[in-house]
């Protein structure tokens, strides 16, 4: 996609204060690029669902603006909403509705004429081909979720919101879900998913936005985000245990394991000088013999915990 092109979703200064006085979103700015997969990552209660619901027209914002495909979600709500498909977090289903009918209903609600060929193809793609005549109540939880995806795609939207798509989902459906997401991406559909599983964001997204306490505290390409916040750890295994870290090694603030067999050095991967060369020289002159070296990169999980923690510090001050 052309990086200079207009974002397909533009959120500006979005705020939401619920009737009970709770502020779920404060001053959120967000640009979503056409065709990308964006993961909104944040703990429970961070405001992910509120943000999505506001863009989809389910929650009325208290401040700010949202445009979808250039259409204001209030002034041109029809144009804006026509572009969006939503798979909600909760498994909301009409228990007595027949699968094919409920998917047809979705298409109609979004203003499109009935198209049984498309619906049949869609249900087939979601492995629901043999379930078209079943009523919702008869389906397993995973199947119900597939139907919800079919409903969200019934009007061939250009944007798909998946609110915690893998919460309580088995491995097979998870795999299928990612296959579907890949297929949709190939078709040029923009996908926004929320999750509190870091691996999920890492696995599937192009960009990751981290949201905590109603604010987006970081958003970047997944790789950049990793390296921006990513710290690597160099673990040095010693041939002979040491009782304490030699004074000459103090500048490196090494951590010594309790058995004295390992020293851990943390460094910033982005820094021009990681300090590894001088550390190795210093180890050598301190007379420590190395047995092995290994490095680990902190996952988004660690990054995330760090960010939320520092955000909390900020709030306390």
């Amino acid at each position: 996609m052309n990086p200079t092109s207009e974002p397909i979703i533009r959120v500006r200064g979005l705020g939401k204060r619920y009737a009970n006085g709770f502020t779920a979103l404060s001053n959120v700015d967000l640009d979503i690029k056409e065709g990308e997969i964006l993961a909104l990552l944040g703990p429970n209660g961070a405001g992910k669902t509120t943000l999505i619901s506001t863009i989809c027209g389910l929650v009325e914002p208290t401040s700010g603006s949202v445009t979808v495909g250039g259409h204001d979600i209030h002034k041109n709500f029809r144009e804006a909403r026509s572009l969006i498909g939503l798979v909600p977090q909760e498994l909301a289903i009409a228990p007595f509705d027949v699968v094919a009918n409920t998917v047809r209903l979705s298409r109609g609600l979004f203003g499109l004429a009935r198209n049984d060929v498309y619906i049949e193809e869609l249900l087939g793609r979601l492995s629901l081909g043999d379930k078209m005549g079943n009523i919702m109540q008869q389906l397993s939880g995973g199947m119900k979720r597939r139907v919800l995806i079919a409903k969200a795609l019934a009007h061939e939207p250009r944007i798909l919101f998946l609110d915690e798509p893998t919460a309580g989902v088995d491995v097979e459906l998870r795999k299928d879900m990612w296959a579907i997401v890949e297929q949709l991406r190939a078709d040029g559909v923009t996908i926004i998913l929320t999750t509190h599983y870091i691996e999920e964001a890492e696995e599937i997204a192009d960009r990751v936005g981290v949201i905590a306490k109603g604010r987006i505290i970081a958003i970047d390409d997944k790789v950049n985000l990793m390296s921006r916040f990513g710290r690597k750890q160099l673990t040095i295994e010693l041939r002979d245990p040491c009782d304490s870290v030699p004074a000459t090694l103090e500048p490196f603030s090494l951590e010594r394991s309790s058995d004295g067999r390992r020293l851990v050095y943390s460094y910033d991967t982005r820094a021009d000088r990681t300090g590894i060369t001088s550390l190795l020289q210093a180890l050598n002159s301190a007379g420590l013999q190395l047995k092995d070296l290994s490095t680990t990169q902190s996952s988004l999980e660690d990054i995330f915990v760090d960010m939320v923690a520092s955000d909390n510090d900020g709030a306390v001050e």
Partner: protein, 253 residues
């Protein structure tokens, strides 16, 4: 205007009716027949006629109104309450539909269902009594207006109710007494004078009176007043719905 959307809601609601055909259609037929046996047969054998109309015939409009009101309210209130209850309402709320279009779909379906039930009752009645309708056009007009007004009212109740008790509350403690005391089975002339006055505060009296006039040209209150009352009620419901739309009442947080 999202016509496909209105159609989608309307036909989905009508399909629900088809799926519960037995309770939707058989039960009004059965209860109407029972009313005829009990009121027309047992009481009618003593009362003979009211204002020159054979008693069995006299109760037909009241019987129809009784069913229309309760059915309109229960169908429309349940129609919007259920998706709120299951959570599926999210889809309607995120669709490119105006609140007006949503109402046309739900209320239109509920009113249609009531109309069908009204017609079935009328046909059932024809088996028991020698039916005659003096002003068929007015009869249909009263029928349609009543179905729409009370389906709208039901829609409001369904939006307002946040549990099953509340959903039942208004129909049970307000509507049923009003209908039974609204002259379904008697002319208000038959009441003691004091109660005749009290009864005039019951809006259902105007409804049944006007409807009965369209059948037999006998009425408790002037027919113009009946029409004004039902129009007024319709406007009131529309006003409430408009306010709900403005505030996103119970649908948008």
């Amino acid at each position: 205007m999202n016509v496909e959307g209105i159609k989608a809601i309307y036909f989905n609601e009508m399909r629900r009716t088809r799926n519960t055909l037995l309770q939707s259609i058989v039960s009004p037929v059965l209860s109407t027949a029972l009313y005829f046996v009990v009121f027309g047969g047992a009481i009618g054998s003593r009362i003979q006629s009211v204002e020159g109309v054979d008693y069995g015939l006299f109760i037909v409009p009241g019987l129809m109104m009784l069913s229309l009101l309760t059915q309109s309210i229960s169908n429309a209130s349940f129609g919007i309450f259920f998706p709120k209850f299951t959570g599926t309402i999210y889809e309607v709320m995120s669709a490119p539909m105006s609140f007006f279009e949503v109402i046309v779909g739900y209320v239109g379906a509920a009113a249609t269902k009531s109309l069908i039930i009204g017609t079935i009752i009328l046909i059932t009645a024809a088996f028991f009594v020698d039916l005659r309708i003096a002003h068929p056009v007015w009869m249909v007009a009263f029928l349609v207006l009543t179905c729409i007004a009370f389906s709208l009212f039901g829609f409001i109740i369904g939006l307002w109710a946040d549990n099953f008790e509340k959903l039942q509350l208004i129909p049970l403690i307000v509507i049923t007494p009003l209908v039974f005391l609204g002259g379904s089975f008697y002319s208000i002339d038959m009441l003691p004078e004091f109660w005749q006055k009290v009864t005039l505060f019951n809006p259902v009296v105007y409804l049944i009176s006007g409807f009965r006039w369209s059948f037999f040209e006998v009425a408790d209150v002037p027919v113009g007043l009946s029409l004004a009352m039902i129009a007024g009620f319709l406007v009131l419901c529309l006003g409430i719905v408009w306010w709900m739309f403005k505030t996103g009442y119970k649908l948008r947080s």
